[in-house]
Amino acid sequence: MNTMRKYTTATLLLLAIVLGACQGEQSIIKATESATLAPTTGSTEISEMSLYNLDSDWQNQNSETLKLQYLQGKVQLVAMIYTSCGYACPRIVADLIRIEASLKEVKREDVGIVLVTMDPAWDTPEKLSAFAKENNLDPDRYKLLTSKQENIQELAALLNMKYKMSPDGEIAHSNIISVLNAKGEIIHQQEGLGADPNETVNAIKGLLHKI
């Protein structure tokens, strides 16, 4: 009887997968992972240009599995990092902290910050968690994400990020901070390190004004 039930479940799963066409593998992960975070605002219609159209699975610094849609509903600042880097990444975090400092009058829960690793082989959720602690990043505001290499590459492409692993383990990469509106559309991008954060801050305030 038990085996019977197992087979039925397997068949159902299989059906679900086949119906899901090329998205199938993700359904499996969803079905087997227990610590899965659901989107905050329910699954509303996703707009054409929303990054939340990506259906891939991600892990945060607490090893919880989530879809990017989970980030929906508030303004998000997104940047890409790798924690083994010496020069640029602390600086991009410094730039984010500068932006944060100019948002004091804004309600904390209205703006989130997302750091996505470019180096999933090295940056496990544990490493990301340690990096957040070292840099005193408030876990309520900062989500550090990792995923499979190809999912990261897709997101990077959408963020107009260019990056390349060098043979020596360094990653050459562009420095871009993207501002996403509550729907997950890119509204503004700050390029380069140490850029004047005013435009970015204004873009964020403009969005919050609309909400």
Partner: protein, 268 residues
Amino acid sequence: MIRRLLTAFLIFGTCGMAMAQKSTPANLAQVKGGTFVPLYGSNGKAVSVQGFRMDKYPVTNAEYAAFVTKNPKWKKHAVKKLFADANYLRHWTSDSNVGKNADKLSNSPVVNVSWFAAKAYCECQGKRLPSINEWEYAALASETKANASKDAKFYQRSLDWYSQPNPKYLPPVQQSFRNYYGIYGMIGLVWEWTSDFNSNMLIGESRANSSLDRQLFCGAGATGASDVQNYVAFMRYAFRSSLKANYTVGNLGFRCVQDVKNQAIAKK
């Protein structure tokens, strides 16, 4: 265990073509692994490329139409703008096939497809897009040599090809240049997508003043060109660096590759 089985089922089950392609790899050519010095990205050092199988031809309009029919979310009017811009499949007069010019274009390379579309197509075949290094490595071949980078005549011919304007109707893929590996159209047909097109550190500004914007890019030491003579490769690198993942271009198509080890597993 069940999960692995399911994944296996998934690969064969969802995109029906995958299995047929695996048992008859007549459309794939074997590229033996080796080393080469890419124009960009390795500081002038040789990089090694593992052996792989590459589609002999760029993906044609007819093949892409079959994919779109099976995966309606990639139909001309159904696609999300995030994944393909407004010119997606612009040369098709129908929503799911070439339409009016089918007689002229069925066997021509599909163009006006985004990186996301190309990637989804290859994944549905149990394949993937080639990396820049794989693509460039396979493109080193002339008719007779695996590496013709030192062959002045071959280089000049490549340069001549690139200086010709695109024909109104792209020719059938079988009519294009066939190289040492039996791969067609690597030069002289269309530009092609690569999986890591966005790993090019060349940007507009850097081409203008020949130095990289150090604030925008880090680790930029690996970005100098290794062979400034190779204008043909330079054009490809420059073109790639101008692309975004949802761009569609009238002379940009793609082909897929497959890892050799996957092939071995499939045979078991």
